[in-house]
Amino acid sequence: MDTETLENVYTVKTPVFEGPFGILLSMVEDRKLFINDVSLASVTEDYLRYINLLEKTNPLEVASFMIVAATLILIKSKSLLPNLELTAEEESDISNLTDRLKLYEMYIRLGGEIKPIFGKKIIFAPLERKQETVMFLPDNQITKENMMTLVSGVLGRMPKKEFIPEVEVKKVISIEEMIDNLTQRIQTSLRMSFKEWTGKGATKEERVTVIVSFLAMLELVRQGLLEAVQENSFEDIMIERQIEESVSANI
């Protein structure tokens, strides 16, 4: 074994990394809000901006943030488009996220109670007693071969350096990319269907695309570049370019 491989094999990495819940929670807390739909809608953009940043510095971690992002977008879109009806699954995704955040917050609070008392009033076990006469009591399992097998076994079980999961690298879609794409296409066709543009959302990858596209669309709506219209629930959302009030009204 050369030293290079050894180094890779016997490293126990303890990355300092804040997960999606931690980020989201600190955003809600920064605004001194409680965890609910309203507060989550208000931090959605910050959260997405954070993902954008993370994409540049730590692209591997983005994937774990995307599932939460999807739910946040649902919450945000509901707040932007009050007539948007959510499916039962989507509704449960939302309440699931808020409940998980509440649970996580409870444990963080409990952690905060533990921190100040940890190591302050320690209960000690008695010191090891001095043995007057040590007997030698071996065991037939103590053989050279066994010792070698055991030591290599335990070394082999040490955590290996993490390998980069290729699948996850591929599917990450940049939000900026999507916004660019949307702006460009909106200029060529003034009116287009959301579904047409993003696909049907059948596979998992397509669904991620739908989510990110939807988010991009909402971002443009917010910026006043687009107007999203959904005439009836479950129906397609129509995206229109907001040129001037009078023009769009005529379409």
């Binding site: 126990v12 990495k13 303890t14 990355p15 300092v16 990394f17 997960g19 999606p20 819940f21 931690g22 774990s64 599932i67 939460v68 699954e89 449960s92 995704d93 309440s95 699931n96 409940d99 998980r100 509440k102 649970l103 996580y104 409870m106 444990y107 963080i108 409990l110 952690g111 905060g112 109670e113 533990i114 921190k115 008392i117 940890f118 190591g119 302050k120 009033k121 320690i122 209960i123 000690f124 076990a125 008695p126 010191l127 007693r129 955590p159 999961p165």
Partner: protein, 197 residues
């Protein structure tokens, strides 16, 4: 010599955690007798310099937490007393749930916890055991060491334990119900987490 005196003597002699079952074997007494004697023993240990600690079904003796400073000086080894944010979160889950599966911890924290769990195990603050209710699963449990560091004789003495347990259970139950509804997507997510280790 009555049973609680004998139990006290065994715990003193062993100087390490002993299970209720083992006490029964050593002292040739039934579980009921042992349990009753332990309750009486707990009372007789109130207001003493030695404390009786309990973790799950094990018991051990230790020094009163008020005397921490004194014994810290008397023992040579350095103690590491700092906990990172991730360690605190993970510990509080394991402590207040009094044992949790890795999948549960990952689910609550929303991130993979394998590194932090290993670090906590190495420090002796948690221990991995086969789940008695499902032998295919491992459960991470609080150790006597973590209770010692917190100066509590059992998990019940943790700050806010009783008040918290109720609200924790309520939220957890809510989540369980929701999860049952969307079990499919859930299990695939967990599988994915397991694969990335």
């Amino acid at each position: 010599m009555n049973l609680e005196q004998k139990i006290e003597a065994v715990l003193f002699f062993k100087g390490e955690p002993v299970s209720r079952k083992k006490l029964g074997d050593i002292l040739e007494a039934g579980m009921m007798e042992i349990n009753e004697a332990i309750e009486r023993l707990k009372i007789s240990f109130e207001g003493r310099g030695i404390v009786l600690m309990e973790n799950e079904n094990e018991l051990t003796l230790g020094t009163a937490p008020e005397l921490s400073r004194l014994f810290e000086k008397m023992q040579k080894e350095e103690l590491s007393k700092d906990l990172s944010k991730a360690s605190l979160e993970t510990l509080s889950i394991i402590l207040y749930k009094n044992g949790a599966h890795r999948a549960e911890i990952d689910y609550i924290r929303g991130v993979n916890s394998s590194f932090i769990l290993r670090a906590l195990s190495v420090r002796g603050l948690v221990q991995k055991e086969v789940d008695p209710s499902d032998s295919r699963k491992y459960i991470y449990k609080p150790t006597f060491d973590v209770l010692s560091f917190l100066g509590v004789k059992s998990v019940e003495e943790l700050p806010g334990y009783r008040d918290t347990i109720e609200s924790l259970n309520k939220v957890s139950e809510n989540l369980d119900e929701e999860n049952k509804k969307s079990e499919e997507s859930q299990s695939s997510e967990l599988e994915k987490n397991e694969n990335t280790i």
